[in-house]
């Protein structure tokens, strides 16, 4: 038992969750926003604690080597917390107006954040799996939280069954690798595998299952079937939650398993990831063209972006990993804003669902239209937004790994994908609004969205601010 203080952010967050859970029972109906305020404060304090305890350089472990705090963990955790604060801000009014029970919503969302932090900081397969289960369990419940809605019950059921299957595959892979290497710790697995040279068949057998599990949690094709249904069926605030921070956690999941543990088997998993990446980019961009629901469109757009994150991972270089990390962080930030605008347009419990609902948004509320425009341009990958730099970094890593053909496919299908983003921009700026009244959202949501949109431009002009941290995380 050493360095217990290293897990201080997680411990604090857990205590805060329990406090909010119990405290919510004792507050009156009129004071229900208390849960929201306390959750934001809990996230903020956790963020400060994370900065405070994270080491300057190198990695420190605790709990007998099952908990690790390194540069990557510090950066990923900080962004998970920042993005989650945005998620809570944007979803507050939605949760209130849709009569979703406040206390349970924030408790489950916070325990999902805790699960993500544990995933990011784990240095054994067991911790990683438990963190993942904590996140998944919270997500399943949150999708179904609006009980009266049949669609969300259906989405939750699909998500739960498929998610349980993927967890089973992951666990099977873990047990195979444990059997082949005799250890649950990633560093010992790496040593055992490099000692055995090419790597035993058992470990490769397990690797295949691991990749299936990771691809499912990412939502990469061909394990993407749950993504559109869950995005569409879940309450919009939960879709926002799923689309944002868990992508960073999924990135950490892949890095811990594939790089920390199985980097010697890079030749084996590179091929698997190439298939996943190409399929995700192609299916995501092409199927998104045919969508009429904005949530489904964003779901397929997520799938194509996951393909890009995998593209960075599979190049197998430190540069590629840091580019993928940059991509995951900036994508979660972009997706946060896009769903934020959709949530802000939601009024009195009538959700925005169709693409055509965005018609004439510019006439109704120029700020929201401009923010949404910037976010969509960033998702397309046009300079000077951050999405351009993210795609550039990932593609250059792929080219350096002699995978130019793969980079070409990615670029071609991004151009295909540009169509459906531009179509939304056309709806917003050049069409007449169906209903003339402006979008009414709270002042803090307004400011938050404006900052979100501005940040996409700012980090597009100065990508070095995030990129430096991502590069430092992989020792560049």
């Amino acid at each position: 038992m050493d360095n217990l203080g290293l897990a201080a952010p997680e411990m604090f967050l857990l205590c805060a969750i329990c406090l909010i859970l119990v405290g919510d029972l004792f507050v009156t109906e009129a004071r229900k926003p208390l849960a929201y305020g306390l959750s934001q404060i809990a996230l903020l304090v956790t963020l400060i604690l994370t900065w405070w305890i994270s080491p300057e350089t190198g990695a420190v472990t605790a709990f007998g080597g099952s908990f690790i705090m390194d540069q990557m963990a510090a950066v990923c955790k900080s962004w998970i917390l920042v993005v989650s604060m945005g998620v809570f801000l944007y979803s507050r009014d939605f949760v209130n107006s849709h009569k979703i029970t406040n206390g349970e919503y924030y408790t489950l969302a916070l325990s999902g954040v805790l699960g993500m932090m544990i995933m990011v900081s784990s240095s054994t397969m067991l911790t990683l799996y438990l963190g993942l289960e904590l996140l998944s369990l919270s997500l399943y419940a949150m999708v179904a939280l609006k009980r009266t809605d049949e669609r969300s019950a259906e989405a939750a059921m699909k998500y739960f069954v498929l998610g349980a299957l993927a967890s089973g595959a992951l666990l099977y892979g873990i047990s195979m690798i444990y059997g082949a290497t005799g250890s649950l710790h990633f560093d010992e697995i790496a040593i055992a595998l490099s000692a055995s040279g090419e790597g035993s068949t058992a470990a490769m057998f397990g690797l295949a299952f691991l990749v299936v599990g990771i691809a499912f949690k990412f939502g990469a094709a061909p394990f993407h079937m749950w993504v559109p249904d869950v995005y569409e069926g879940a309450p919009t605030s939960v879709a926002l939650y799923i689309s944002a921070a868990p992508k960073i956690a999924a990135f950490a999941l892949a890095i811990r398993f594939l790089v920390d543990g199985l980097e010697t088997a890079h030749n084996s998993w590179q091929g698997m990831l190439i298939v996943l990446s190409v399929l995700s980019i192609v299916i995501g961009n092409v199927v998104a063209l045919a969508q009429v629901s904005i949530k489904r469109m964003l779901a397929y757009s997520t799938i194509s972006h996951v393909g890009f994150i995998l593209l960075g991972l599979l190049s197998g270089s430190e540069q590629g990993y840091s580019a993928a990390m940059f991509y995951a962080i900036t994508y979660s930030f972009t997706s946060l804003g896009a769903f934020g605008v959709i949530l802000a347009m939601d009024r009195m419990g009538v959700s925005v669902n169709l693409l055509t609902d965005l018609r004439g948004l510019f006439r109704r509320s120029p700020t929201y239209a401009c923010v949404m425009g910037i976010l969509l341009v960033s998702m397309t990958g046009v300079p000077p937004t951050v999405g351009f730099y993210a795609k550039l970094a990932v593609l250059s890593a792929a080219v350096k790994a002699d995978l130019t053909w793969l980079a070409l496919i990615a670029v071609i299908f991004s151009v295909v994908g540009a169509f459906y983003y531009l179509r939304v921009i056309k709806y917003m700026f050049f069409d007449e609004p169906v209903e003339p009244q402006p979008v009414l959202a709270a002042m803090d949501v307004h400011v938050g969205l404006a900052i979100n949109g501005a940040a996409i431009l700012f980090f597009g002009l100065f990508p070095g601010l995030i990129m430096a941290a991502c590069a430092a995380a992989f020792g560049l």
């Binding site: 099952s66 408790t107 489950l108 369990l137 419940a141 068949t201 057998f205």
Partner: protein
């Protein structure tokens, strides 16, 4: 053939038979009982592998608690599982083909090479005073403390999720308020009325008794409602 091997074969064969029984029998109660048999047999096999604690836990938790609960549910709800199995024979050829393909692929990939037991050293049996439970407890509360705590958090989240998804306030449900019930006065509940015997049709029985009736407003006939009203008025004077 030594005794351990005989025990292993006997119990594994019964285990496999019981497992097949679980999925082939039509009666859900029989299926549950077959599952109990399978659990007991696998716990004996664990016992052979010197995993005493797990063996006992399996019997205590799964056989003693989970399966008994399951039997209760099956017997009380009278679930008709026959429609659930209707497609079984219809899908059997396709399912069997897929299963055979998977098994074939696995055999081709693994080539039975690393499942060959001869390449693994036989583990030495532990001394007689070795306590499995103690070792497990030590590992759980020292090396795996963090994982143990996270598992506890997962259970907490499962409870929160289950309650959040199932509990709701039904406006028509009637609740008891014990604090108000004990404070209730006799006068709140009971009204003593004098019944005039001359007006009564049957004077022999109902001669001059004081009838005790619930204190209800005139016109309110339902006794249930009356009791509810009385409870609600409870402590309020």
């Amino acid at each position: 053939m030594d005794l351990k091997l005989i025990i292993f074969w006997v119990f594994s064969l019964v285990l496999i038979g019981a497992a097949i029984g679980v999925i082939t029998t039509r009666n859900p109660v029989q299926a549950a009982l077959f599952l109990v048999l399978a659990f007991v047999n696998s716990s004996i096999i664990w016992m052979l592998m010197e995993a005493e604690f797990l063996a006992i836990t399996l019997v205590l938790v799964y056989v003693g608690a989970v399966m008994v609960l399951f039997l209760f549910v099956v017997m009380m709800l009278d679930v008709n599982l026959v429609p659930l199995r209707e497609g079984f024979t219809r899908y059997l050829p396709v399912g069997g083909l897929v299963a055979a393909a998977i098994v074939l692929q696995m055999i081709l990939l693994i080539r039975v090479k690393w499942v060959d037991a001869s390449q693994y050293a036989q583990p030495l049996p532990k001394p007689a005073d070795y306590s499995n439970t103690e070792a497990l407890g030590m590992a759980m509360y020292t090396d795996y403390l963090f994982q143990f705590e996270v598992a506890a958090v997962i259970l907490l989240v499962a409870i929160i999720a289950a309650i959040a998804l199932t509990m709701r306030r039904r406006p028509l449900t009637k609740y008891q308020r014990p604090a108000e019930q004990v404070l209730v006065q006799k006068a709140d509940r009971l009204r003593v009325v004098q019944v005039n015997s001359e007006d009564n049709q049957n004077p022999a029985v109902m001669s001059n008794y004081a009838a005790a009736v619930p204190a209800v407003a005139p016109g309110d006939t339902s006794v249930d409602d009356a009791i509810d009203d009385a409870t609600e008025q409870g402590a309020k004077p």
